[in-house]
Amino acid sequence: MSALRIARLRKRFGAQEVLKGIDLEIGSGEFLVLVGPSGCGKSTLLNVIAGLEKAGEGTVEIGGRVVNDVAPKDRDIAMVFQSYALYPTMTVRQNITFGMECRRVPRPQQEEALARVARLLQIEALLNRKPSQLSGGQRQRVAMGRALVRDPMLFLFDEPLSNLDAKLRVEMRMEIKQLHRRIGATMVYVTHDQIEAMTMATRIAVMHQGEVQQFADPETIYNRPATLFVARFMGAPPMNTVAARLTGGAEGLAAIIGAGRPDEIRLPVPEELAARAGPFRDREVVLGIRPECIAEADRRFGADARHSVPIEAPVEMTEPTGAETIVLMRLGGEALLGRVSPDIRLPVGAPARFALDTRKLCLFDPATERLIA
């Protein structure tokens, strides 16, 4: 049984269509992340799942039950908000038990559930405080407690970490992930942060302009992005996408960056991709390559030496981050980012030698912007 199924969902605000036919389905215990830039419709989609917004067309099923006309409180969901939305005049205890009070859960059961959640989130000491007396991270925990105490079919998170500072955000990210593993609940999580999406999700739906661009597991999203948008949105720094020309010879298919220029770069296309890329032989494509696939010259990618192509390119800028150094280089006239070991000093302005991993090349149709191979 699927925990959540959304079919042909459409939603418009006035003349603006914000959701243009969404289809998603996740099983019980999955962690779905809806990710996309602001205005892509992800929060609206979450609100429709919660019942806080009405669906225009299409159906929303939670636990096999169509809930289009079911009130939010009867959908068997719990939600954590970006601003935490704690009731300011209530204590932590009252915040957590308010929902049970509304549902007329008997006192002893309320106390039991409160104790369980307080222990799980280690907020026992805070129960008699008001939200204004809590730090950002503590408020976050209380907001989660309010959701957890319900033991719902579906947890909904609306950018819950975006108000926290960077360090706390990473901590809470791990905590939510551990929590998910521990209680095995089904979660839908909205974020604009692609790192949160990659680290937490079992499945990611990348949204853009009211449409799901790709719905897949994080590895597929990262390595085989379905569209140029996904390729450029996921990953930091994002995937390099440059114009290239496919040519074929006796030695197999190759992509040429800056074809016809003196510094053109020829990259052999791996056999696995060549079959699907065949129809684009002798045509323009968009070549996608992750920055980590361009590294220092002595790096070897995989067992097969043919996958590590040596290239030479002038270095335009370096950004040492400590763990690695990001290099902006010019390849066949195009600007590309690479990631090299931090030990390597590359003089800016001078050409340097790099190794390029061809196994993870992506080829996109420039007209449809969809993945070819």
Binding site: L52, A71, P72, M79, A85, C102
Partner: protein, 284 residues
Amino acid sequence: MADRLTPARVLIYALLAGFAAFYLVPLLVVVLNSVRTAEDIGATSVVGLPRELAFGNFERAWGSYCIARRCEGISPYMWNSFLMVVPATIISTLLGALNGYSLALWRFRGDNWVFGIITLGVFLPEQMKLVPWTLVLRDLGLTNTIAGLVLIHVVQGISFTTLFCRNYYTAIPQELLKAAKIDGAGFFRIFWRIVLPLSPPILIVTVIWQFTHIWNEFLYGVTFTSGAQQPVTAALIALSVSVSEAPQYGVQSAAVLIAALPTLLVYLFGGKYFVRGLTAGAVK
């Protein structure tokens, strides 16, 4: 930051002090007259220092002075005013809070029109509504009753109380409401458990405003009630015109001070909340 006493600053303070003194002169005259005997005032003029302190004016004004042939002072009329101002203030404030809550937080089709029409009442002069209210009170059988005045002040007050509360409640984030809806709370439970506990600053402002306004209101009181039903503002006029003998400026001054006392007390106790409430946001 050091407050240096520069010539410009001295000038500013002197000017302000001058204006303040000028503004306070009427109050000073009333206070002085309230402790002067009629003979004292008669011998000199209404402007002058008391020859001796005569507190008897307050006793007479409160309990025995004759107004429209009733010799009970202004105390029964003070009581009338309380019977009018307390329910009218409470009911109009609660209705305003409820209106403001639904207008600010439960958006519905045409809500801005409803809000616009309600607040239009703020700009309508009292005189314009005299005839309609006469008809309404007559049809309801509330002519010359305190209940009639309560009804008028509740209805008239809704414009202001709704305006105040609605503008305050717009600062309450929508997410709070969403969270409560998912928790299973309905319209009234959200109002009672979440919105009302956030409201003391604006409720204090609204109560002070309504209390002072209704207490000081004169036109409706004098138009729609007579004799024993009048609020104190109307009775004060009756007091000054019913003087058959020599003018009793001392007693009148004392009566005015007694009548002004409730609003003064409300402001003294609630004033700091008034200023705070007008400037504070709802949720911090």
